[in-house]
């Protein structure tokens, strides 16, 4: 027996119908964005270099990751990136080399998701600086564990990449590691800070 109610073309819209329409609109929108992006190509920040010969990150992923890493680390990072002292995509690619294949796939998928999650047509890497910060913050504090997890991954990869470079050390006031090997210039071992002990400290 057929339910008349379900086949009546003139019945009023119900909640489930609105959900279906919403899903269809979002799906179409995402498809449109991907199509536009495939024509326009990836959108690295204007004038920014991408390292050649990446093994695990395609140019598009490298551009997305670089934009996210710069936004994550802070304003000083952008200058280091522009003058070639910091290549976050290269470091991320090296890190991916050490991961399992399914993890690499997850990272690439997360980058795609992150890029496509903005409402505008530009994707994350095409947003202005303030909009990028807002977008990152919304992922950082999201009620969805998946979004917080992606933020954590981008944060860890981006920040560790920057702070492993001399450009990062300059920002931090870090004199560099205290090295034994003569092939590097480094500080001599031993404490450079002396202080008086409070007698109460055992």
């Amino acid at each position: 027996m057929t339910d008349n109610h379900d086949v009546n073309p003139r019945r009023p819209l119900r909640r489930r119908d609105f959900l279906k329409i919403g899903v269809a609109v979002l799906g179409g929108y995402a498809l449109l964005k991907v199509s536009v992006r495939s024509v326009v190509g990836s959108t690295p920040p204007a004038g920014m270099p991408l390292p050649p010969d990446l093994k695990h990150l395609h140019a598009r992923h490298a551009a997305i990751f670089s934009a996210a890493a710069i936004a994550m680390v802070g304003p000083a990072a952008e200058a280091a990136y522009r003058n070639g002292r910091w290549l976050p995509a290269r470091d991320a690619d090296a890190m991916l080399e050490q991961m399992y294949e399914d993890q690499r796939g997850l990272v690439r998928m997360a980058l795609n998701l992150f890029e496509e999650s903005t409402w505008g047509m530009t994707g994350f890497s095409g947003l202005g600086a303030q909009a990028q910060q807002r977008h990152l913050a919304s992922w950082s504090s999201s009620s969805l564990a998946m979004k917080r997890s992606v933020w954590g991954m981008l944060h860890a990869l981006g920040c560790s990449s920057f702070s492993g470079t001399s450009a990062g050390w300059e920002v931090m006031g870090y004199p560099g590691p205290c090295l034994k090997s003569a092939q590097y210039e480094g500080r001599a071992p031993g404490q450079s800070v002396t202080f008086q002990w409070d007698a109460r400290v055992p």
Binding site: Q133, R148, S149, S163, M172, C178, G190
Partner: protein
């Protein structure tokens, strides 16, 4: 056909569990002992002391190993000497509370019978209390804040007498002063005749006429006795791949941080990174606190930068305060029990759904750490939490949970717990002949203190038991 080597005993893993076992067995059986290590064998000149170079070489998964939901990073080394190569060289004795707690979980343990092994390990590792003159300013400030609040604490012991204080213990000791397994029990095993095989990962164990076939990628071994001591993640993984039930009861000391921000430079990157311990809130050594220690900790640049959960201009501000920060680490005996399974492509799949009881003790830690640093004269305190960064008063309304707070562990345990479904009360694998688990994966419960000495001495005692049974 793979190369086949025959031997009396094989020890899989050369860290704090495997190295002492290999040394003791080799003293009895000489070159009948083979010590297999999945990671490479580094020497002092290999430790370049550059974080971005050494982290991927030394750490499992290049330092990216984590629980499945990404909420807790799990730091373990993969090289000859295991995690003792990259640890902070802290040496704490088994607390008296360990014996009744482990016995209640079905493990056979007696601190009295363990004592001679503890003494032997301490001698081999040259354990001493970290001298006052070697305590850096960051650790001193932790001690100062605790002392001003009347909290009990002390300078810890380490196995790095004569340390040149380069601050890079986590990257392998370039000076050969940290007496990690690669410089102590592994050479002792080799001197006694053991055959050390680095970069040799075991794929599977197969029972074979009362003994074992040990299958590696391009080699095969046949042994009468096998001791698995591949570390808390890889030991259960190997058992599982060999068709032996394992992976239950994974635990850890849950770790997070807080930093006092001082007016004058602290420069914690100088000197010994971890030297001072506040015991007031622990539940060991006679204390009856909620179960966490507070340990002074300093981190070099790369390691530090991922810990505060900030972004953009705030992240940069935090980086610019790096020289002025003194760190303190929570070492919480977590009650959560997780599982380890074999994931796609042999990837460890570690599920660890943090229980409310554990999360509820994190906010009190942040509160105590804030009080401590403010008492020491800090202008404010930095927390690794996405909702709160700098605070001047103990926070009261933070939502603690995965993806909000920076958690990690360098102290995983379990997965093949004594008294559990995998091994018996002393470490024999149930239902299998001549197969033992003698590393921290057999711990029935996290000990509540930095575990290096406990792992070594429990393993040595297990080796002695194996020898007496074999005789």
């Amino acid at each position: 056909m793979a190369n086949v080597e025959r031997c009396k005993a094989i020890v899989i893993g050369s860290g704090a569990g495997g190295a002492p076992v290999a040394a003791r067995l080799a003293e009895a059986w000489g070159d009948g002992v083979v010590l297999l290590e999945a990671g490479p064998h580094f020497q002092a000149p290999d430790f370049t002391q550059i974080e971005r170079e050494m982290m991927p070489k030394l750490y499992a998964g290049a330092g990216t190993q984590a629980t499945e939901d990404g909420s807790v990073a799990i730091l373990q080394a993969s090289c000859v000497g295991g995690t003792t190569v990259v640890n902070d060289a802290l040496c704490l004795r088994p607390p008296p509370e360990l014996e009744p707690r482990w016995k209640a979980l079905g493990a056979e343990v007696s601190l009295q019978s363990l004592a001679p092994y503890v003494a032997q390990v301490e001698r081999e590792l040259g354990v001493e209390q970290i001298p006052q003159a070697m305590t850096n300013r960051a650790n001193y400030l932790v001690g100062l804040g605790a002392a001003r609040l009347g909290w009990k604490g002390e300078r810890m012991h380490h196995n790095a007498a004569g340390c040149p204080e380069c601050g890079l213990r986590h990257l392998g000791c370039a000076y050969d002063t940290k007496r990690s397994m690669n410089l102590t029990f592994v050479p002792r095993a080799v001197r006694a005749g053991a055959r050390l095989k680095p970069s040799t990962k075991v794929e599977r164990l197969v029972s074979n006429a009362g003994g074992w076939r040990v299958l590696c990628a391009d080699m095969e071994f046949e042994a009468e006795h096998v001791v698995v001591a591949a570390g808390v993640v890889q030991t259960p993984m190997l058992l599982l791949k060999s068709g032996i039930p394992a992976g239950q009861g994974f635990q850890m000391h849950l770790q997070t941080l807080a930093w006092g921000d001082f007016d004058d430079p602290v420069d914690g990157f100088n000197g010994i990174p971890m030297a001072y311990s506040v015991l007031e809130f622990s539940d060991v050594y006679g204390h009856t606190g909620p179960g966490y220690m507070i340990e002074g900790v300093s981190t070099q640049a790369l390691g530090f930068s991922v810990q505060p959960q900030a972004q953009g201009a705030l992240h940069e501000e935090i980086l610019r305060r790096y020289r002025y920060l003194a760190g303190a680490m929570m070492v919480l005996r977590a009650s959560t029990r997780g599982t380890i399974r074999v994931g796609p492509g042999d990837r460890p799949r570690i599920d660890f759904p943090l229980e409310a009881h554990d999360l509820q003790r994190v906010l009190p830690y942040y509160q105590r750490a804030t009080e401590m640093f403010m008492a020491a004269g800090a202008r404010r305190v930095l927390l690794p939490h996405r909702q709160a960064h700098f605070v001047t008063k103990p926070p009261t309304d933070l939502e603690i949970g995965p993806g909000r707070t920076f958690f990690y562990t360098a102290h995983p345990f379990g997965g093949a717990c004594r008294g559990g479904p995998t091994v018996d009360a002393v470490g024999r694998v149930k239902g299998q002949r001549n197969l033992w688990v003698l590393d921290a994966s057999a711990f029935p419960e996290a000990p509540g203190v930095n575990p290096q000495i406990i792992i070594c001495s429990v393993a040595l005692e297990g080796a002695e038991r194996l020898l007496s049974e074999a005789a």
